[in-house]
Amino acid sequence: MLNTTSRDTDENGSENTMDELTGAELMEIMRECSGQGEEVEAGRDPLDLSFADLGYDSLALLETASRVERTYGIQLAEEDVAAARTPRALLELVRRTAAEAA
């Protein structure tokens, strides 16, 4: 039978908690899921650049969203993930979803 749990646990079996996700962590998850994004000009915050400008396609966004869902045990609305254009929009979606779930 297939296992149906969708949530990751760390080595101690404990689940991660929501307030840990920062913008820097989100960018790191993206890098792990889909590789290093494009160089960002000095003075610009990558969180506010579009995924396209960062070199991430729709698959990169889906992979990142899936990792975040598993890590934090939340379920992001598919339409909202698809509508997110920047890492900050995704970050806000994650925080909002977690707050609603809490």
Partner: protein
């Protein structure tokens, strides 16, 4: 009919990263078969493979391609880059639809596939990568190469087990004959993972000999199977006129090719590799006597070796043509093996040297002139043979380019 020539090659094999290193190690008979290092092979009855050492994907490919590619696709993308560069092409500069790519595959990106199967069955569907939908499937290398180089011409993917390298090159040649200016073709394969390894073992053809240099001995009395390996070669192909027009130097011409299929075991009908050779020679308008060297399939199992040597005796006479199996250094590279042999054959023409079959003492019963030490001799015409599990046979004849544009001159 216009002739199709090869103007670029990208080689990635256990014997070397790049054609030059591959050729040096091949002529020096440096055997690159060794104990599997990609996973712990202790628990398995066969533990040797031909592995590529020193390939660091980050040095060759952009970061964003890495999470979405299996190991063998990274090798293929790198080989494609090298082939294009070797041909002196700028793929950013091609007319629309002017170039396509045909690759051979055998098991797709299997290591990636095993990882995702494990994620699915141990953790659940939500853990399966978005890249699984194409990282495993057989078409992945042609797709990724076409994207990386903007190749919008006809593309394809063929699977004929280990005959695939030649079949893909022949399919690419067909497109050149039909008027597509440039094609990439060939095969790069192999990602030894435990799941793929266990599946390989069930073929019954993998050697369980412990000593690496004794594990793959085609045409030797001690032959007891082969060793799987990774790597292969990709080629840039174009019409002779196109090569001339852009001043490209030419490795060689693909003069003839044919594929045949063996009847099923127990049918009582004879095998058909010999007919593939005859058809390929006929297409090349050559007689058997004009062939300077045969790159044999060299299965490394007694029965298959006997069949191949019987065919060579029939067509060329006992000891009638120099025969070599340089893949004795690398193992058999799945869909990449025959493509690597073609690269080695082109390099043999260029250097006037037949590379050796390593570690083998030819069994007298085969009556083959098996080249076991490098042999200096002019090579103008070479025959490359490949057989795939299940009955696939392919034969390709290549010819040294005439005239000054060839990479065939002394170097």
């Amino acid at each position: 009919m216009t002739s199709t020539v090869i103007t670029g090659m990208g080689v990635l094999a256990p014997t070397g990263l790049g054609a030059a290193e591959h050729w040096r190690n091949t002529v020096a008979a440096h055997c690159r078969i060794g104990r599997i290092s990609r996973f712990e092979p202790d628990g398995y009855p066969c533990r040797n493979a031909g592995q590529i050492e020193g390939f660091v994907p980050e040095e060759h490919l952009p970061s964003r391609l890495l999470p979405q590619t299996d190991h063998m696709t990274r090798l293929a993308l790198t080989a494609a880059d090298w082939a294009v560069k070797d041909a002196g092409l700028d793929t950013g500069d091609l007319p629309e639809y002017a170039m396509g790519v045909v690759t051979a595959s055998s098991a797709g990106g299997f290591e990636f596939g095993q990882r995702e199967l494990q994620a699915l069955w141990s953790k659940g569907p939500a853990h399966v990568s978005v890249y699984q939908s194409f990282a495993w499937f057989y078409a992945v290398n042609s797709g990724q190469i076409s994207i990386r180089h903007g190749l919008r011409g006809p593309s394809g993917v063929l699977v004929t087990e280990q005959a695939g390298g030649l079949d893909a090159i022949a399919q690419a040649k067909r497109h050149v004959t039909d008027g597509i200016p440039l094609m990439l073709g060939g095969g790069v394969d192999g990602s030894p993972c435990p799941w793929g390894w266990v599946a390989q073992l069930t073929s019954g053809r993998i050697s369980s000999t412990e000593a690496p240099e004794r594990a793959y001995l085609p045409f030797d009395a001690d032959a007891d199977g082969h060793v799987p390996g990774e790597g292969g070669a990709l080629f840039v192909m174009e019409s002779a006129q196109s090569a001339r027009a852009r001043g490209a130097s030419v490795y060689g011409e693909i003069a003839g090719y044919a594929a045949t299929f063996d009847p099923p075991p127990g049918s009582g009908r004879p095998p058909t590799l010999g007919r593939a050779v005859e058809l390929a020679l006929e297409q090349a308008k050559l007689s058997a006597a004009e062939v300077d060297v045969v790159f044999a399939d060299g299965a490394g199992t007694p029965e298959l070796d006997r069949r191949e040597s019987a065919m060579l005796r029939d067509l060329f006479g006992p000891y009638g043509v120099p025969v070599t199996v340089p893949k004795s250094l690398t193992g058999r590279l799945g869909a990449g093996g025959a493509a690597l042999d073609l690269a080695t054959a082109l390099l043999a023409m260029r250097h006037g040297t037949i590379p050796p079959t390593a570690n083998v003492r030819p069994a007298p019963e085969h009556e083959l002139d098996l080249v076991v030490r490098p042999r200096k001799t002019a090579v103008s015409t070479a025959l490359v043979l490949a057989r795939g599990h299940g009955g696939f046979n392919a034969a390709m004849v290549i010819r040294k380019p005439a005239g000054p544009e060839g990479k065939g001159g002394p170097c």
